[in-house]
Amino acid sequence: MPAGHGVRSRTRDLFARPFRKKGYIPLTTYLRTYKVGEHVDIKVNGAVHKGMPHKFYHGRTGKVWNVTKRAIGVEVNKQVGNRIIRKRIHVRVEHVQPSRCTEEFRQRKIKNDQLKAEAKACGEIISTKRQPEGPKPGFMVEAATLETVTPIPYDVVNDLKGGY
């Protein structure tokens, strides 16, 4: 009989629970709240059968566009042929984790606001733009001794005696 292409085909390992993490899922997954506009990672939890997304979305990150009683609507980009479609799916909260992709941005925002406020207080003008790492500066090499290394001419007689 041929393999079949059902919704959960080829997910034997993908949806499997990790080693020694089977059984009841920790309660923080149920206690987290999600607001519209937040970024979330989709990671399927094989222990909960309801509200599972299709295997394509496992590992994708999207934005929340809807919040219902037990599930969240997530908008994920999917490439179909020659274009990218924004797909809207509903996923139960057990298969969703808050994403850290915007964490660095949010922290930088806070820090920059702080720096700008301080600069305003002093009257300085600062730029909070990120600069890429430039080429390394030049430096003097201290206390270096020069050792010239040249190859020694091949001595057939001696070498053969050693390892023959």
């Binding site: 059984g23 009841y24 309660l27 923080t28 999600y34 009683k69």
Partner: protein, 299 residues
């Protein structure tokens, strides 16, 4: 042969998955907990309160708890060991005491939230099924009963506490099926019987029965009652007074405890990360200086 085979090998331990800590301790039923705590996502941060009732051998604990990621937060708590303050000194874990504890917690919570004027609840305990009616301004305080690992049989003391909280004015979804006095044959709650239990009538009738038939057992079993001078007929009056006292002043008393004494330390105190690094630097310096001295000596 069987002796050797019974060993748990290293492979067994390597693959062993422990249950959650509180499950190993046998204290939390996670299946029930998940269902009690789960809040609708479109209600965001609205807390879902649980009316937690737990019994120990000598005490009853009733709490209003809401869950959070950092840990559960107890909004208010009432214990049976507070009941002596209201005039109940004996029988602190019976059905009537559970009723008093539930009532105390309900009045306490409502007073904390300043809803106690609106929601008086059932002042006269009749044993009938009573549910709070929503008043004009605020909706009643809603909590869900959390029994823990108890077997919910008809007439269990936990439902006595539930009745106390209901009569106190909390909104707890319930059915009268498990109150003491529910007849499975008629499928009806006998309010008279329930009222008897709320006022300790079952204890009183046992006292009367023992007094007639086995006076020595009465002396040993109800010794505390005898010491306090409580007879079978006084029991109902006593509970009525306790209910009234609870409704009059439900707020808890802050007890002042002295700070605990310092004990002599018998084992070494664990060093902090900084202290350990400092120690290492010291040792290295000592080593270096010692090595320096040796070299000087050699030279």
């Amino acid at each position: 042969m069987a002796f050797v085979k019974a060993q748990k090998s290293k492979a067994y331990f390597k693959r062993f998955q422990v249950k959650f800590k509180r499950r190993r301790a046998g204290k939390t039923d996670y299946r029930a907990r998940i269902r009690l705590i789960n809040q609708d996502k479109n209600k965001y941060n609205t807390p879902k309160y649980r009316f937690v009732v737990r019994f120990t051998n000598k005490d009853i604990t009733a709490q209003i708890v809401s869950a959070s990621i950092a840990g559960d937060i107890v909004m208010a708590a009432a214990y049976a060991h507070e009941l002596p303050r209201y005039g109940l000194e004996v029988g602190l874990t019976n059905y009537a005491a559970a009723y008093c504890t539930g009532l105390l917690l309900a009045r306490r919570v409502l007073k904390m939230l300043e809803m106690d004027e609106e929601y008086q609840g059932n002042v006269e305990a009749t044993g009938e099924d009573f549910s709070v009616e929503p008043a004009e301004s605020r909706r009643p305080f809603r909590a869900l009963l959390d029994v823990g690992l108890l077997r919910t049989t008809t007439g269990n003391r936990v439902f006595g506490a539930l009745k106390g909280a209901l009569d106190g004015g909390l909104d707890i979804p319930h059915s009268e099926k498990r109150f003491a006095g529910f007849k499975k044959d008629d499928k009806q709650l006998d309010a008279e019987v329930h009222r008897k239990y709320i006022f300790g009538g079952h204890v009183a009738s046992y006292m009367r029965a023992l007094l007639e038939d086995e006076p020595e057992k009465y002396q040993s079993h109800f010794s505390e009652y005898i010491k306090k001078g409580i007879e079978a007929d006084d029991v109902e009056e006593m509970y009525k007074k306790v209910h009234a006292a609870i409704r009059a002043d439900p707020m808890p008393v802050k007890s002042t405890k002295e700070p605990p004494k310092e004990h002599k330390r018998y084992n070494l105190k664990k060093l902090t990360y900084e202290e350990r690094k400092a120690k290492l630097v010291e040792r290295l310096n000592a080593l270096n200086s010692a090595a320096g001295d040796d070299e000087e000596d050699d030279d």
